[in-house]
């Protein structure tokens, strides 16, 4: 590939166009002098501002799509709550990382893609797998380690895959998928397809070498990839303040002269709009983007996390800006959906989750001889 001649102007960031209108007026600085966008104290004021911009975005988006976005968020929430419940009953083994609180990120970004676009993510993958098209039944059966699971019970919670849906997996090595996703984008460019790759990882993964190695190559070779850093503010039990020398993750892309943007991960429409900008950049100019999408992980790192490194108050404060509540309020205000619509969405999500559990319960365990299959092609 030719040497890169990079002179790409970085896209809207915290100080740029994308987030400008929503920047908190009295942002606090952390110990390194970085402004913290999601400061809890400003949450309520933010909430109102967000609804305004969300309202604007809603008005220009297809109504059917908006309903589907809300449905996927609610389904993701109910599905993960059910996972927690059945995990405690011993139905799910191993590690189980839940997505509750982060639904706006997966839904907002992935529902801006074409079906042929590729997605790869970390181990917090149940909801993303479903948004990309894997059925709740196949995801739940995988969690149960059953034959009907999307990878026949061989992967479990952390390893959902579907070649049919261009879902290249949940991956268990922090940051490992950043490099693999870069290779997927490399293949798309090599073959001359118009596919975009969406590559998710948590904020803790940006401390891994593979993050820096990958972003360097992606910008050097101009690869059509969107790196989405899901900043849920905790790497397992370590808060980002104790792990990152700067809280400004989006700006790390500047080191590679890569376009980057900071996005409010509680606002599904903000995530969608930012992703659409990045998709355009990837598809039309074959250029990468780093999005830092800030949300908050309501649950522990995994089901085995007692969570004694943070207070209930902290969680409650973030829940005041719950992405589902925020989106519902905006949809109602915009008169896109009614209370009755919400009820039916809620009912559908609960029913789909119940069907998934029933399917998983009834699905047989993998046959014994499955142990030795799929090792080699």
């Amino acid at each position: 590939m030719p040497k890169a001649a990079v002179s790409h102007k970085t896209a809207g960031d915290r100080n740029g166009s994308a987030a400008k209108s929503t920047k908190p007026s009295k942002a606090k600085a952390d110990k390194n002098g970085n402004e913290d966008f999601a400061i809890v104290e400003l949450a309520k004021a933010e909430y109102q501002k967000r609804r305004k911009s969300q309202f604007e975005a809603i008005k220009k988006t297809d109504k059917k799509l908006l309903r589907e976005m809300l449905y996927q968020m609610v389904l993701g929430r109910r599905f993960e709550e059910k996972c927690a419940e059945v995990y405690r009953m011993g139905k799910i083994g191993g590690f189980c990382h839940l997505y509750i609180g982060q639904e706006a990120i997966g839904v907002g970004s992935m529902m801006a893609l074409k079906p042929s676009d590729m997605v790869i993510t970390s181990y917090r993958d149940h909801v993303q797998a479903m948004v990309k098209g894997i059925s709740p039944e196949a995801v739940m059966a995988e969690l149960y380690g059953k034959e009907g699971g999307c990878v026949k019970g061989k992967g479990g919670s952390m390893h959902m895959f579907s070649a049919e849906h261009e879902f290249f997996g949940g991956h268990g090595i922090v940051g490992g998928q950043i490099g693999v996703g870069t290779g997927m984008a490399y293949a798309a460019k090599y073959k001359g397809t118009d596919q975009v790759t969406l590559c998710f990882f948590g904020e803790a993964a940006v401390n891994q070498g593979i993050f820096h190695e990958s972003l360097n190559m992606a910008q050097l070779w101009k690869l059509p990839i969107i790196y989405i850093c899901e900043n849920n503010q905790y790497g397992m039990g370590t808060s980002q303040d104790r792990a990152l020398s700067t809280r400004n993750i989006a700006k790390k892309a500047d080191a590679f002269e890569m376009a980057n943007e900071f996005v409010d991960g509680m606002d599904v429409m903000a995530v969608r709009e930012a992703t659409l900008r990045a998709i355009k950049r990837a598809r039309e100019e074959s250029l990468p983007t780093l999005l830092e999408v800030r949300a908050y992980r309501y649950m522990g790192h995994s089901m085995s996390d007692p969570g004694n490194y943070r207070t209930r108050e902290e969680i409650a404060k973030y829940q005041e800006r719950d992405p589902i509540v925020l989106f519902k309020d905006s949809l109602k205000e915009a008169k896109v959906l009614t209370e009755k619509d919400f009820e039916s969405i809620e009912r559908e999500a609960v029913e789909a989750t119940a069907r998934a559990v029933r399917f998983a319960d009834e699905s047989p365990y993998p046959a014994g001889d499955e142990l030795l299959t799929d090792v080699f092609a």
């Binding site: 590939m1 030719p2 590729m118 790869i120 699971g149 999307c150 990878v151 026949k152 019970g153 061989k154 992967g155 390893h159 895959f161 579907s162 070649a163 290249f168 997996g169 991956h171 268990g172 090595i173 490992g176 950043i178 490099g179 693999v180 996703g181 870069t182 290779g183 997927m184 984008a185 490399y186 293949a187 798309a188 090599y190 073959k191 070498g209 593979i210 190695e213 990958s214 360097n216 190559m217 050097l220 299959t373 799929d374 090792v375 080699f376 092609a377």
Partner: protein, 327 residues
């Protein structure tokens, strides 16, 4: 048949496969403009250009990962490590990703990729450039491990590896790049993975050798024949995984004695595995305990005499054969 060096045989295999399949590309440090650190890729960039022969930054983990992702998405990358020592930086991608992908995706994603480069010692390159690390990779299900010792094998096995749908660890040896041998010119000359080759027939003692120890074992066999009238059979598995244990045990059943010569360190080595498998299936045929020649259990030293003392040699192999033959 043409007489080629191992280096040129590898080059020919790469060239033919690049021409044969548009999804094949070569990627690594200095493989393009520089013509390859060891000139295995000489001329390929000039002939095929930027798309098919790709220089990378020095970022082993990164470009190994790009290879894995590209293979999952339908390409057939050949990733060169300047030496396998550097692959250790990339081992997360090779072991946790490439090797596991097919299994943990329930068979949905194959990873047709070749990782290749020189393995083991060179000439006084000391402790961080001399490891023979095949045992490490051979330990992980999902990886094939290939180690040619002749020019023909190098070509036939590399072409087979590129056409294979699994991740293949293809290990060359820097000391051997200049070794010459006859190589078939057929563009579909393939040596299937998992088939051993009897490099020298014999009746009194079997030596299993691979990579660098194959020429050493052949020299040892000639000397033993001349000096003691003992007939040594030399077997080269060529593929460490899958291992053609049948060819080895059949030889042991004939000779009743076995020496294993390998360049890697001895602890938990491929040689240890071969010794176990022979014990398991041909124990009653053995007339002497199996003897193994490996590299000393030290990081590899720089000083010429110490390096030579650390590595297997014709002399150490002869001594081992004498021991199992009670000479």
């Amino acid at each position: 048949m043409a007489v080629l060096t191992i280096r040129d045989a590898l080059n020919q295999a790469l060239r033919e496969e690049i021409i044969r399949d548009e999804n094949v590309f070569v990627m690594g440090e200095e493989v393009a403009e520089y013509d390859g650190a060891y000139k295995v890729t000489r001329g390929l960039w000039k002939e095929f250009g930027d798309k098919r022969v790709v220089d990378t930054p020095i970022t082993e983990l990164g470009f190994a990962a790009v290879g894995v992702g590209a293979a999952m998405a339908g390409l057939r990358p050949v990733i060169e490590f300047m030496t396998w020592n550097f692959s250790i930086l990339a081992s997360d991608q090779i072991i946790n990703h490439a090797a596991a992908m097919r299994y943990m995706s329930g068979g949905q994603f194959k990873v047709p990729i070749v990782f290749r480069g020189p393995n083991g010692s060179a000439y006084q390159v000391s402790s961080q450039h001399s490891h023979a690390i095949e045992s490490m990779y051979a330990n992980f299900p999902g990886l094939k491990v290939v180690m040619p010792s002749t020019a023909a094998d190098a070509k036939g096995l590399l072409k087979a590896s590129i056409r294979d749908d699994n991740p293949v660890i293809f290990m060359e040896q820097e000391r051997m790049y200049g070794l010459k041998g006859e190589v078939p010119e057929d563009e579909d000359f393939i040596i299937p993975l998992g088939v051993a080759d009897v490099k020298r027939e014999g009746s009194d003692c079997t030596i299993v050798a691979r990579s660098m120890t194959v020429p050493l074992a052949l020299q040892a066999a000639e000397k033993i024949q001349a000096e003691f009238d003992v007939s040594v059979e030399v077997i080269d598995p060529r593929t460490i995984k899958p291992l053609d244990i049948d060819t080895i045990t059949n030889s042991v059943k004939k000779t009743n004695r076995l020496v294993i010569a390998e360049e890697s360190h001895s602890f938990a080595s491929v040689g240890a595995e071969i010794a176990y498998q022979v014990m398991d299936t041909a124990f009653d045929y053995l007339d002497a305990p199996i003897k193994r020649i490996s590299t000393a259990e030290t990081p590899i030293p720089y000083a010429k005499n110490l390096e030579a003392a650390a590595l297997p040699s014709v002399e150490s192999i002869i001594a081992a054969v004498k021991e199992v033959c009670y000479l």
